[in-house]
Symmetry: C2
Subunit: 346 residues, 2 copies
Amino acid sequence: MGATMKDIAKRTGLGLATISSYLNGGNVREKNRIKIEEAIEELHFEVNEVARGLKTNRTKTIGIVIPELNNIFFAEIITEAEDILRSHGYATMICDCRSDAEREKEAVEFLYHRRVDGLIVMPTGRTDPGFKRFVRAGKPVVMIDRKMQDVPCDCVLVDNKGAARDAVKRLVRAGHRKIGMIAGPDNVYTARERLKGFQEAVAEMDAVADETLITGGNYTIAGGAAAMRKLYKMHPDMTAVFVTNYEMTVGAMMEINDLGIRVPDELSVIGFDNVDFAKASVPKLSIVTQPTASIARAAADNLIERLESRPVNEKADEDADGERMTVTVTLKTGFVEGRSVKTMNN
Amino acid sequence: MGATMKDIAKRTGLGLATISSYLNGGNVREKNRIKIEEAIEELHFEVNEVARGLKTNRTKTIGIVIPELNNIFFAEIITEAEDILRSHGYATMICDCRSDAEREKEAVEFLYHRRVDGLIVMPTGRTDPGFKRFVRAGKPVVMIDRKMQDVPCDCVLVDNKGAARDAVKRLVRAGHRKIGMIAGPDNVYTARERLKGFQEAVAEMDAVADETLITGGNYTIAGGAAAMRKLYKMHPDMTAVFVTNYEMTVGAMMEINDLGIRVPDELSVIGFDNVDFAKASVPKLSIVTQPTASIARAAADNLIERLESRPVNEKADEDADGERMTVTVTLKTGFVEGRSVKTMNN
DNA sequence: ATGAAAGCGCTAACAA
DNA sequence: TTGTTAGCGCTTTCAT
């Protein structure tokens, strides 16, 4: 269909190497440059990235593996990352593994076959679904949001523990003692961190430390609703609840709605993630927010930097054991004040 | 790095063609089949899709261009489509163009350079950002959600007009006469259709037909909020409002919240798209829902069918002018009953 | 059924 | 600087 380098070589009377050189920013005599540009224009020539990829062994494609695409938190990150990567000429292949370890494994393998140059991932579980293979092949992997001990790669995290601790402290300072927590699944890194933060704050601030005040909500809407119900049944005297991700916040609000509990008079609530949802709630919810754009930028920039500097430092970057140095960036969370936390007079 | 066909040819003592034949489901003598399979196993051979793509001129990759990835409606469709396509061996390259025509154009061009085999798109505006080029190259394009007159391609739509008409009729039947509408931007197909549906219903049912009852909300949260405010200021006696997409529904609820309007006592509301949000609202919202999974499936299946049947029908499918027959599928919307519509006694 | 060889469009030595 | 040439890993005639 389209014209090839050969065509424009013929057209200009130049050699293939000259064309290639021009295309790759090499030095070409002014005269020839003009000739080449004219030919490209006339013949509507466009580099065939596939052929180039075959030769260079680089596809200029990044694989992204995420638990759920229809999860605003992830979607916001992906949007931003895709934008940055594309502006650098990298295409992204996104695979949604539906929080399923098996699907995740398939996705990683799929992307490996597709010869993507690097990976941005948010691991679903605690075991490596095949990331190491990329690392071994010298292909950069950046882990977002979640950490995994046994895969040596760069990470972009958020201070989950600190965020949870801070949220609970706010509740205690407002006079709450009996605070419930709707936690995530304990095979997920962020959920464990948020739990730790909650427990630390409870201990430090002398709030009620009762294991049954912590209920798992599985990071889903239904789970959040069920957890809320359970918590309320078991502790009707609980005055505040901390919900630790967006989906569960939605679920908890649904249930609070169903149970006819008045917020914040009867129950104070601090949610997570989605500012828009928080503002649209009645009353407006106070929530912990995550810097999605910064996360995406940190991950994309990191990947690009690794990719572009690779040829030069190919050896310099490795130490005696051939292990790469890895970097972990931890970003701060935010907090948006709403009207869902009651200040107790005591 | 990985083993190549050459390696396993050497290993088995067979010719390249035999290996290729085996890999592509051709006939190979039992004996050799086993030998090949063993060699593949031992050498961890995996087909290099890039090389294959160069040769076959097919990348087994589908491009997806959408207005916003962090929009649940789109995200749900994409997730499903990606899943189906991948299960057929197709990778997807997703480009989010942020509802910007310029970015959309760039995205389409980007995907064209990447030699994707086909496109799934939700056009941002009314003018072709380059889809025709794909059609001309014989590459299938499927348009989702929105239609575009001048690009001859398959479409998967939803009965937007019917959905809007139905929603308004429900309001009228519940006794409402003065009904406001928060509409989308009129350069978007779905927005125009929903508007038509609203107007038809108002005419048919003898509700108040006043142009100022229709306010544009730009399909955004902020727009929805602003429209709600404007509508309420201008028509404090309006008893119901129909909001025509998810983002605007969120925005409208935020504003209703701010204005202290009680739903449904003072104002009845029918929203759009997101069941979870509807259920988490106080009171639960009645909403129009769209069959995202079916939309995705229709689009993906259509694309795969076009792609896989192409070699055989290459000519049979075209008529004298070389024009392809195009298909438009229109799916039905749903309605989820909430508690946000008051039944008036009159 | 199998093998030999050409070539997809590009890059990268190596020469000139 | 520019031209020549040899592949990258695969598919695909065309013989055998």
